[in-house]
């Protein structure tokens, strides 16, 4: 790890004053579960590290207006154990539970889950975010079994690593981003972006901004997350689906189905949403929606199997949501 100077601000205002105007000047350190590994691999070599764990305003989960406000440094364990989250947002509880290592859940934060870098092994082994060599990505003709099956027309082929992203997109959540000159709220759906060149990032956060909180609308929905995994112990899912259903009696008034770990961003499946409108959730309608969700998949040479996994994830998430409470 390259040496860095360390800052330990006590307020958001102090923290944002310490950030740089370009990537690489200052990195934010919360739970560190990704950040410290990135620094050990020299993938991130910040001159300054800004610890935000001692900023009280960034913690806590509470109701604010019509939202549940989740502080950026709330740990995955705190999120999972929170009574309001368990009641209103089983999809978030299940996504946090899917990060199966107690150590990671005790350390890792909600903000960090959204800001973690992709797990693409080309990126992690120093080939760059887009794995470009001689003007072409190494991924399409390379080892791509864990890469994208949607949104993969290039130049990005990695999958978003976020566990909470799909659930937050389905629930219509926003993130608050604060800089020294002001703040803005961004829909989580717009927070994740597909980078078009090696210099850009996979999230809309700017180098001088701090993600301070997540706002999840408390509108009643049936929601669930289902992850398909290779093993129960610590690993990222192979494919996942989060769903949020607004019900009218026993039928779906509107649905949001979002796939995870299949594209460079959480991947909204609008065709599944349309397939569900006005219908009751049954094994048949869930299967139809699941088929619609993966209809446009464009798998690479080694990851065709992920299409089936994503389909199963959608079906099971829908059935789970229908069984759960509003």
């Amino acid at each position: 790890m390259q040496a860095f100077e360390y800052a330990n601000p006590a307020t958001i205002q102090e923290a944002v004053a310490l950030l740089g105007s370009r990537w690489g000047e200052a990195d934010v350190l919360a739970g560190g579960t990704d950040q410290i590994s990135l620094m050990k691999e020299y993938l991130h070599t910040p001159q300054r590290v800004v610890n935000i764990k001692n900023i009280k305003e960034l913690g806590g989960i509470h109701r604010a207006g019509g939202n549940l406000r989740i502080g950026a440094t709330v740990t995955l364990d705190e999120l999972m154990e929170n009574a309001e989250v368990r009641r209103a947002f089983p999809s978030l509880h299940q996504a946090a539970e899917g990060v199966s290592s107690p150590q990671i859940r005790n350390m890792g934060t909600v903000g960090g889950d959204l800001c973690q870098r992709p797990r693409c092994w080309y990126y992690r082994n120093g080939c760059g975010l887009l794995a470009m060599k001689d003007g072409r990505s190494l991924v399409p003709d390379g080892e791509n079994k864990y890469h994208a099956i949607f949104g993969n027309s290039g130049p990005a082929y990695f999958v978003s690593a976020s566990s909470l992203g799909p659930a937050l997109v389905a629930l219509g959540a926003k993130v608050k981003l604060v800089s020294a000159s002001g703040s803005r709220e961004v829909a989580v759906e717009k927070f994740f972006v597909t980078p078009q060149n090696e210099q850009s990032r996979e999230i809309a956060l700017l180098p001088n901004e701090l993600l301070t909180e997540i706002l999840v609308p408390l509108a009643p929905t049936h929601n669930a997350t289902y992850e398909v995994r290779q093993k129960e112990a610590l690993d990222w899912p192979l494919a996942a689906a989060s769903v949020a259903l607004k019900m009218k009696g026993s039928t779906v008034a509107s649905a949001r189905v979002v796939l995870g770990h299949v594209a460079p961003t959480p991947w909204p499946a609008a065709q599944a949403d349309q397939a569900l409108a006005g219908k009751a959730i049954t094994a048949e309608t869930a299967e139809e929606a699941a088929k619609a969700a993966v209809a446009g998949a464009t798998p690479l040479s080694q990851n065709g199997y992920k299409v089936q996994l994503a389909r199963v994830a959608v079906k099971r998430a829908l059935l789970q949501a229908a069984r759960g409470r509003a």
Partner: protein, 199 residues
């Protein structure tokens, strides 16, 4: 001379060379902004197993490296060093964490518990004793991390089922595959600990 002392004596030339190289990396001026410490060594106080330890460390030094390389507390093991295998597990403020992925400077002011601190005199902690009884190790390299993970799990879940014990240890790997013995050990330890023998 201890085995560790010998290994350290042999390795010291290489270590010094490595440090010199890293220090030579030119650092551009960081952005303006506020109070900062480092990148050189700064005074750090760690509270480990109830005792304060004063150190002078660069902010980049992890808690695991502080324990092993600066305090000779070598129970926590360095295996993956990337928050994956669990061999470095310690308990900080009552919660299990990977010490390879916590900066020592961030662990100040917190109660740090390591494998060295859980026995009482010559009496093993019930979790360690149960690991012995169930032959819950083979090469033994993952064992201190597993014992700490199991202790942290039982502190929060004093009466687990076998399935809960399995999930509770999901953050640790054993490449010898002694998982079955470890799960049985966790259940035995839960019975022992409720008996108050080690309250």
């Amino acid at each position: 001379m201890s085995r560790r002392g010998f290994i350290r004596g042999v390795g010291i030339g290489g270590g010094a060379l490595g440090t010199g190289l890293l220090e030579k990396e030119a650092l551009a001026a960081p952005p303006a902004g506020g109070k900062t410490e480092g990148p050189g060594p700064v005074p750090i106080t760690l509270n480990i197993n109830g005792k304060p330890y004063n150190l002078n460390l660069e902010p980049r030094v992890t808690l695991l490296d502080a324990l092993r390389n600066h305090l000779d507390l070598t129970g926590a093991k360095k295996v993956c060093d990337r928050a994956t295998c669990g061999a470095c597990t310690v308990i900080v403020s009552g919660k299990v964490v990977y010490s390879c992925t916590v900066l020592a400077i961030d662990a100040q002011g917190k109660e740090i518990q390591t494998i060295e601190g859980i026995s009482t005199g010559n009496r093993l902690h019930p979790v360690s004793a149960a690991f012995v009884n169930h032959d819950a190790q083979q090469c033994g390299y993952c064992t201190p991390g597993f014992v700490m993970a199991a202790k942290g799990f039982l502190d929060r879940n004093p009466n687990p089922t076998l399935e809960q014990a399995e999930h509770g240890l999901c953050g640790n790997l054993c490449r010898c595959g002694t998982y079955v013995g470890m799960r049985k050990a966790v259940l035995e330890a839960s019975r022992e600990m409720k008996g108050g023998r080690h309250a």
